[in-house]
Symmetry: D2
């Protein structure tokens, strides 16, 4: 068997009891049966790590007290045992240090978004990835949806014409109630600047919005003008933001995000209007892509249909009408990661611009976006160049 033609071995930092996204990463990694999950440091609390490890059938010898220990010990294991990559699923503030430790140990890294809390940290990771040549993946999972990939094809091919107006909204009501006062773990770290970083909702939702827009259109935001809001008492970080944007290609638009939009669940929606056509994609109904062509009947493209692009076809597992969802899209990110890591194992590493997942550069751009937005908001919604 060729060295690369095998299941990969995954470790995880974060994702202990009470966590959310760690379990998502594990399911996403498991779905396609190309990854064995074998090691972890699931919490700063070792008891949590032990319990979690047991539940997940992880060898107790590979349940570590600290991520540093994990990085150190894993590389000492025989080549056919040690982890191929680590998934970092901790709160934002620790991403930088953990990613750094594993990259420096020579281990490929998968990191949840947002990549870091500051532009400096993000630039440091860029430097490290460039120096080590290792695979670094940022799990902007919404780019894993087949219909998003098809939308990207439509815009990047020029078929839709020049982009004029974009509207990206990402609305939740997760923070409409002060759950942190009842000790809910997911709310606690999100409203705490020590763990979340400089921004609140913009980190959680704003980075996805910016990433999705850039992923589909290939266009960067040139300038922005932001208004941040905090409604509940005793909160420091913004719970809601409205951002006017201008694109490098001349388009205009807005990004509106909220975690106090009562009754909204995970309503990420992007509308892109170009000179020849437009698309609308809604995360909560991801198997469909409404497509408008000027003067023609509206179309609804459906996942797994024969008329879709190869990019979309490669990202789907089951036939039309059998809905895929959040986990399948997330798993597509892992499909790309496996492919990239195998290309290393096989001695012919893919280039970063060949990855079909978000990279360390996308991560940097996201951190820049939310940092500039915070700056604009502080300056009374001044236009700021990104």
């Amino acid at each position: 068997m060729e060295s690369w033609n095998r299941k990969l071995r995954m470790g995880m930092v974060g994702g202990g009891q009470g966590a959310f996204i760690g379990g998502v990463h594990r399911m996403a990694a498991a779905l396609d049966q190309q990854i064995d999950f074998v090691a972890g440091c699931f919490s700063r609390d070792f008891e949590n790590t032990e319990i979690t490890g047991k539940e997940l059938y992880i060898d107790p010898n590979r349940c570590y007290r600290t991520y540093q220990e994990m990085a150190e010990k894993e590389v000492q294991l025989p080549e056919n045992e040690r982890i191929d990559f680590v998934s970092v699923v901790t709160p934002n503030a620790s991403h930088h240090a953990i990613c750094k430790a594993f990259l420096e140990a020579g281990i490929h890294v998968v990191c949840d978004k947002p990549m870091t809390c500051t532009v400096e940290e993000a630039e440091d990771l860029v430097r490290l990835v460039e120096e080590t040549g290792l695979v670094f993946a940022l799990t902007h999972n919404y780019t894993g949806h087949p219909m998003v990939r098809h939308a990207r094809k439509l815009f990047r091919s020029g078929e839709m014409g020049e982009i004029r107006k974009v509207i990206v909204q990402y609305l939740q009501d997760f923070l409409a109630y002060p759950h942190e006062k009842e000790g809910q773990k997911q709310a606690l770290w999100r409203v705490d600047p020590q763990q979340s970083g400089l921004v609140g909702t913009m980190g959680d939702c704003g980075t996805h919005a910016e990433n999705l827009l850039q992923y589909i259109t290939g266009e960067d935001i040139s300038e922005l003008c932001a208004d941040f809001s905090t409604f509940l008492p005793d909160r420091e970080l913004e719970e809601d933001a409205n951002v006017l944007i201008r694109l490098k290609g001349g388009g205009k638009g807005l990004i509106t995000v909220s975690q106090i939009a009562t009754g909204e669940e995970n309503n990420l929606r992007i509308k892109i209007y170009a000179s020849k056509g437009a698309i609308i994609w809604e995360q909560e109904n991801p198997n469909y892509l409404p497509l408008y062509r000027y003067g023609k009947p509206r179309e609804i493209l459906t996942r797994a249909s024969g008329y879709l692009s190869e990019d979309a076809a490669h990202a789907t597992r089951i036939p039309t009408g059998h809905p895929e969802g959040y986990l399948e899209a997330f798993a597509n990110i892992y499909v790309g990661i496996v492919k990239a890591i195998r290309s290393h194992l096989g001695g012919n590493p893919m280039k970063i611009d060949e990855y079909d997942f978000s990279t360390v550069y996308d991560g940097l751009r996201g951190v820049q976006f939310v940092t500039r937005a915070a700056e604009s908001a502080k300056k009374g919604s001044a236009w700021i160049k990104v």
Copy 2:
């Protein structure tokens, strides 16, 4: 028969061949069989007026060459023949002068929106209405929808809590193609500052957006920050605008309008998120009112249901499941107008704040809104107090 208990007589200025909104006003006025349409000056081109009058079975003696002649001659007719009110459905720039002429002649006025091109003209109409005591109605037709009226009740009663975030979008693609270069009448006047006024899409769509927001919530915009765009060559007026807004009550939000949103038809949608609940209303699907209450199952209220408020019930004609649309809502504005004028005929005129249609004050507020937005856009999206 009591003096007020009769069909009212309507005249019209504008609405000749090639016009759009004039025909809408005529259908809206006809639907409930309380109005006879008897006189008009349908165009600056008298031949058009003559042809239009003949098609509409209007007595040729009451088809006038100018609106001045019409105002003058109608008041000279016997009391039981002359028009009770005039509907002004010309391009924006002539609204002020025409309304003024009829108000000064003692005739009640219905005027299409936006009310005027400048704040000064708007203030002049306010003065005239106050002085004459006549009925003046601005046809913000979307406030005629039963579900909009129910939404208003929900917010104004306090049932939804404090308003936090509002998103109003009004998207069309009417100007995505340069129809004016092919001589299309509706496009021609809209892109011509001489006929449209200082603003383009903001006058057409922005005033509806602001009006609907204020109508439902009762909250005024305190400040705004706008970005205007013009994409097609040889156009002077904005075709698209994104406006950040702050409400007097502390809520935040945005208004986004466009007439170059490829594939959009008449997509006016308002979402209002308050501390206890939220509503979404879509003009293209007006018989439904999605209502979210925090932590509860989502509700879809349906027009004509027994559980709706009286305000909604009074604005509906047919049972649930039998869709009403644009014309029925427009006709509800005329129902209110008939009621107000009859209150004059009966000698006990309603007060302006009892009207269930938009008033001269709403018209002034709309003109202020778009004027301030244009000012902000010119100043590089500065925050401007409204």
Copy 3:
């Protein structure tokens, strides 16, 4: 002015206080301002007629005690005063006699559906219409929708291929509660075989379902097999029916109707699957026509779009995105009626197969359909030829 180029004069039988469909006919007739409503016998109770007439501004001299008196006296009026046609909007059981009286008096007739209670009565009206040559219109209002007319074009042109499967559902919950026990007028006559006829829900809903299917496809039902149900105590007529059908052209399908489908409002929906494509049309969302072509992206056609057929274009009043509804479609039936009657006035009467509304033959077919269905149900769901 040419004799035909004038507003037509309408009378009405039925439609007094407490009635539903009479008001609908009046609004539908008024909308386009081609009809003056001038006479009526609104109820068997003359006081009701008088009150109704006063509310509707009808000359008291033309408010009649009986329909016989109305038919008799109207024809004696001067030609330029008397009604051109009568709209018959009474409960089913009296349709035959009233229509007969007016046809025999030489007056054109508009009749609400179902046409009659028995096949014999229906055949009698066919005979009378053939003998008199008068216009007879049956108000199957759903055929007035622009998207239904476009669907008809799609199937009748052969563009969709051979019809294989049809599913027509018409679901309401109007009778899910025993409203008749509280004296509700609409419920009272519907559950009374003396007023409704042999069938209940099949008359109300089943005839619309059959008519819509035949209108769009042009195909008659060759055989049917029905199961009728009555759930509430003390009811005689069916409240619900499931009918297997076979079409003359070889297609198969089913019609399911109910007035006890809890929570349903007026859910008439038709799906037609043919060898090359399919359509779905929903009465509650009538401005859209989902169109599937085998192997192609799904399309959503929207009312008033430039790509629609002339048949659809002629049946629409306002631009795309400005929803039209039930009343506008109903008014389109009256547009057709006005055209047909004017063709008589102009001396060049249209032929029955040129009408764009349902005819006496459609009425007969509808009565045959429900009668055969009742027969099948009684025989334990035997297949019966229609």
Copy 4:
């Protein structure tokens, strides 16, 4: 570690290259990381089995030439190596023999639906399951959806009142084109009575429809009356069926299934109208459950909401607004299977009526349903007792 507290070992019969449902079972089994997939006989063609085994990282020693060999050899492996259960994912005609072989070898069995081709085979499996006491699961995957489980709770608790009308449709266009003539494997076996059995679409879709109806309501079909259709030339089995049904509890309804419904993908939809309320559930949009309560606003329940029943909560993995789909529901069936098998390993086996997946009795009922329907269709749609 307790004997049951470990990952279970799965084998598979069927699911080689060109197959569809085998891959689905493997993903469903992998998602929750409770199952190791270790052995298989993927095809009657051993080369296919070898290639498939290699792709799936299966030990070549556990890739078997026949299912008989697999059953025989697996039971000879050490207890901590051999498979705990087998998933049977072959075409229908071989289900009985394969399931029998593994049950007789003492191995738990998971079988895709429909269970068998004949009632006799089904009864034989019932007997075997009763005799062996082994776990037997039929993968009616749609019962794995959280909103289906909540619907079940609503009806079985009596909250919705007595069931009056049910409409189940399952529409595809998978066979609208003669794919079998181009050698497509999925189409080939489905149109071949040797592999599919007595029925076509009724086996594929009809059994799901019946199962879903029974699962939610708990009510059996007492009688049915069916009309089968075959439209494409050279086909023997029905491609479409319309079935009138009567429920033991007095409700009426219909099941309509098709694989020639042009443009339909996997449109399984159930509507259940009861005296106090109704639900609609659509497989293509499975995260939502529209719920109507008589006279109240319509509700849309959303997956993972706090107000749902425990049954629904247990069947969901990720928060509201993060869509789950077909695979997640399928994986829920495997969650139940793992629980049931572990109860055996732990020495305290669950009873069959405690399973939260479809059992051998459900399988028998499904085969009876389609067999009786075929009988009714042959007899010209006679009513047949089930």
